[in-house]
């Protein structure tokens, strides 16, 4: 009997949601363990780094890596897994586009560290020390991997074969991606699992979406009531559905809330935020510059909203030429 295919699952700077999307395969996880050898999966199995290092190059058939690259050590782990694996899938939005962690690219590493370790009101840190620093005369602890200058998506660090979008991806999509490899049907390089079209095409509110949408003011969800049976956009509530890849099952819409774009941009779109901004621009119902300014001012934090999941992979986001 031939050896079972080998699979590894790893996380970089992640929240663990992508791991849940594997555990939520439910009975499918048992089937996966039957069909493949899971050789490395720290959340669930007791394997060590040395076990991974001991494998031959290319010995792992498929590695699923989730999380963004925030620490130098995470870049090294991604590189190690690339060497050991025939196929790498970027699993989830952080690995695909940089994700929420990528919002850190609005700031320098120093600003980020200082806020959490010196400035928040519960911290008592008279010496102003930061993790990774040293304190004269005190015990030296284990070496700590530093943060890299900019958060990066996985394909900004290693070569990636395919992408599973979503924060986190629905378990069904993870299953589909994994089975594609186990069944010898690996898609072409660069393939993004999920729909080819925008979320709007499968949205349960599609019928109420007008051809042309014009608004005089954008409304914020906490200050307004809306009709849950109708498209958010003509009601003045920003929904990222028109610029976002479908395939999530409209899970936010099912809870009467608008899309925030976790599946990333459409295939035809280079930059998710710019794509959504151009759609929003088409909605502005104004003839004069002052009015345009007034309407756009009703969108709070456009940078954080339109680039919520994709800043490292955007024209704004940096992440290239960074020390790893």
């Amino acid at each position: 009997m031939p050896d079972k295919p080998k699979i590894a699952l790893y996380w970089c700077s992640s929240c663990g949601g992508c791991e849940e999307s594997v555990i939520d395969l439910s009975e499918g996880l048992l089937e996966l363990a039957e069909r493949a050898d899971i050789v490395f999966w720290p959340v669930a199995l007791d394997s060590r780094l040395k076990d991974l290092e001991a494998l031959d190059d290319g010995e792992i058939d498929l590695s699923l890596i989730n999380g963004a690259i925030r620490l130098r050590e995470q870049a090294r782990m991604a590189q190690l897994l690339r060497r050991k694996s025939k196929v790498i899938f970027a699993h989830g939005t952080c690995a695909h586009l940089g994700g929420i962690v990528g919002l850190g690219n609005f700031h320098t590493v120093q600003e980020i560290l200082e806020r959490s370790f010196r400035d928040v009101p519960t911290v008592r840190n008279l010496g102003g020390i930061l993790p990774g620093g040293s304190v004269e005369g005190s015990e030296r602890g284990p070496k700590l991997s530093p943060l890299i200058d900019k958060v990066m998506a996985l394909d900004q660090v290693i070569d990636v074969d395919c992408f599973i979008p979503g924060c986190p991806p629905p378990p069904e999509l993870v299953g589909k991606a994994v089975w594609s490899v186990l069944e010898g049907k690996l898609p072409e390089k660069g393939f993004v699992f999920g729909d080819g079209k925008a979320l709007c095409h499968t949205c349960p509110l599609l019928e109420s979406k007008p051809e042309i949408i014009r608004v005089k003011r954008f409304k914020r969800v906490h200050e307004t009531d809306w009709d849950p049976g109708k498209c958010f956009l003509p009601q003045g509530i920003i929904c990222l559905g028109p610029a976002t890849r479908g395939g999530c099952g409209s899970r936010c819409i099912q809870a009467n809330m608008p899309c925030r774009g976790c599946f990333g941009p459409l295939e035809t779109m280079e930059d998710h935020g710019a794509g959504m901004l151009s759609f929003i621009a088409s909605m502005i119902d104004a003839d004069h510059e002052d009015e345009i300014r007034r309407i756009t001012a009703s969108i709070p934090d456009p940078g954080g909203l339109f680039y919520r999941y994709s800043l490292p992979h955007s024209i704004l986001g940096g992440g290239k030429g960074t020390e790893t």
């Binding site: 992640s14 929240c15 669930a44 806020r115 993790p131 040293s134 700590l144 986190p168």
Partner: protein
């Protein structure tokens, strides 16, 4: 000459971690470090964002306990906008939070920490993991675990959009009502969840409490710390997950402090170490006096055992019976042995199931009035709830346009930081003698942190 033993990565927990144990020339443990090599910076990059986005943004701190962040965040927004949620909204939020704690605790017992107890230490036939647990308990139980988690998570998808990440929370309410038809489904799931919770306690009785080796460990000094304990309680001082005051008891079990959400800054502080991204909180009135336990140390613990120690009882009848049984078996309150966290967690599973059943019958669950729209100018708000792994605090300050100026997040596992480090060091000292280590010994040391069900993504947000 000293020797270093490194466990990298530590496993069966949420997030990254390493343990470095330093031995002296005699091969005895000199120091053990529990290091978390990950950091994201939510407290910085959430600045400038719109307040109403916080429940869906901050929950990305943790994909394992997103619902707890969603709840703490939306409660912080209630306080920020000074808006009282409707009765229906409160009960819907409590239902989703309780259902989430139920399934998350089961994740720990069957997938993460529980395998240490359920798959015997000398059992070479199966690994200490979910597959080993199914091998030991049988496919029928394994399928039941998978099925009940799936159904309870399905319940949360119905209420909140997705169990992976809920989106329904708004200041003053929720975005979606519950229908009478849905209530019938919720009742059925809650009933089955209760039956399964009782089965879990039977499994614990048969597989763990009847195992002399584990019972000895549960009474051993190697896993014991005499610390303060913190948890949220209701008006009767019973364990409460969704709302109430935060209560702290001392190592002797006596009440130390009790406070409401808005006062947390008077009671808690945190320190920074150079060798880890995890900060270590401590009780402000006592201060930090190093990694040590006892009445003079400001270290405290949170999570299931801490909640049961801090409270005066459980709010539902079956959980109360099990609560009394546990403390009787362990020699009274408070219980200091870390491995008893596993037992306390299952009692909370039972409580969660009973509470879900109560809520499923609550008149206001299906009330269509799910929102009060804020009318006040926002300024500052603190929201607290109990996450599965302990007390969770979100604190926001905004400008008058509800744009975040500052955040402070004290996240469940983080409260246990000092105690986890101390537990690991104590276990290392107890089990490593004359430099001799084995996989079994290293796993025993790992059992010291796993019992807490730590979430390092939360702890280093």
């Amino acid at each position: 000459m000293t020797r270093r033993i490194v466990i990298d990565p530590i496993t069966r927990l949420e997030g990254h971690g390493k343990i470095e144990i330093r031995l002296d020339s005699e091969g005895q443990v000199d120091r053990a470090f529990f290091q978390i090599p990950d950091f994201k910076g939510f407290e910085k990059f959430c600045e400038g964002r719109a307040a109403e986005e916080m429940p869906t943004l901050t929950q990305k701190i943790c994909g394992v306990c997103p619902t707890a962040h969603h709840i703490a965040s939306v409660k912080a927004l209630d306080a920020l906008f000074r808006v009282e949620p409707t009765a229906a909204a409160k009960i819907i939020r409590e239902l989703m939070h309780t259902a989430f704690i139920y399934e998350d605790h089961l994740l720990h017992f069957f997938y993460l920490g529980g395998p240490d107890l359920l798959v015997g230490s000398n059992d070479k036939g199966f690994g200490k993991n979910i597959f080993g647990v199914i091998g030991k308990l049988g496919g029928k139980i394994g399928k039941k675990v998978i099925e009940i988690r799936k159904r309870v998570r399905g319940l949360n998808a119905l209420i909140s959009g997705s169990p992976l990440y809920p989106v329904c929370g708004l200041p003053g309410g929720v975005s979606k009502p519950v229908s009478e038809k849905e209530r019938a489904g919720i009742k059925e799931i809650a009933g089955d969840a209760l039956a399964f919770a009782r089965l879990c306690l039977n499994i614990f009785e048969e597989e763990v409490l009847s195992n002399r080796e584990y019972v000895d460990l549960m009474h051993s000094e190697a896993f014991s710390l005499q610390t303060y304990y913190m948890g949220m309680v209701d008006r009767k001082n019973h364990v409460s997950f969704y709302d109430g005051e935060v209560r702290i008891v001392g190592p002797d079990g006596g009440l130390f402090e009790q406070f409401g959400a808005g006062d947390y800054l008077h009671h808690l502080e945190e320190r920074v170490d150079t060798w880890s991204y995890m900060k270590t909180p401590y009780l402000k009135s006592i201060g930090y006096h190093g990694l040590c336990d006892g009445k003079g140390s400001g270290l405290y613990r949170v999570g299931p055992l801490a909640r049961l120690n801090a409270a005066e009882g459980m709010a539902t009848p079956l959980a109360q019976q099990e609560y009394e049984r546990m403390f009787d078996a362990c020699g009274g309150k408070p219980v200091h042995n870390t491995l008893v966290y596993h037992w306390a967690r299952l009692i909370e599973v039972l409580f969660a199931a009973e509470r879900m059943s109560e809520i499923a019958c609550h008149d206001q669950l299906t009330d269509p009035g799910i929102r009060n729209i804020p009318t006040q100018t926002p300024q500052e708000g603190v929201g607290i709830c109990e996450a599965p792994r302990g007390t969770l605090i979100h604190h926001y300050e905004t400008d008058e346009n509800a744009i975040l100026k500052r955040l402070n997040l004290l996240v469940a596992t983080q409260n246990n930081a000092g105690a986890i480090s101390l537990s690991v060091e104590k276990a290392a000292r107890a089990f490593i003698k004359r430099g001799r280590v084995s996989d079994e010994i290293l796993n025993r040391i790992e059992m010291a942190y796993r019992a807490y069900d730590p979430c390092m993504a939360c702890a280093t947000h």
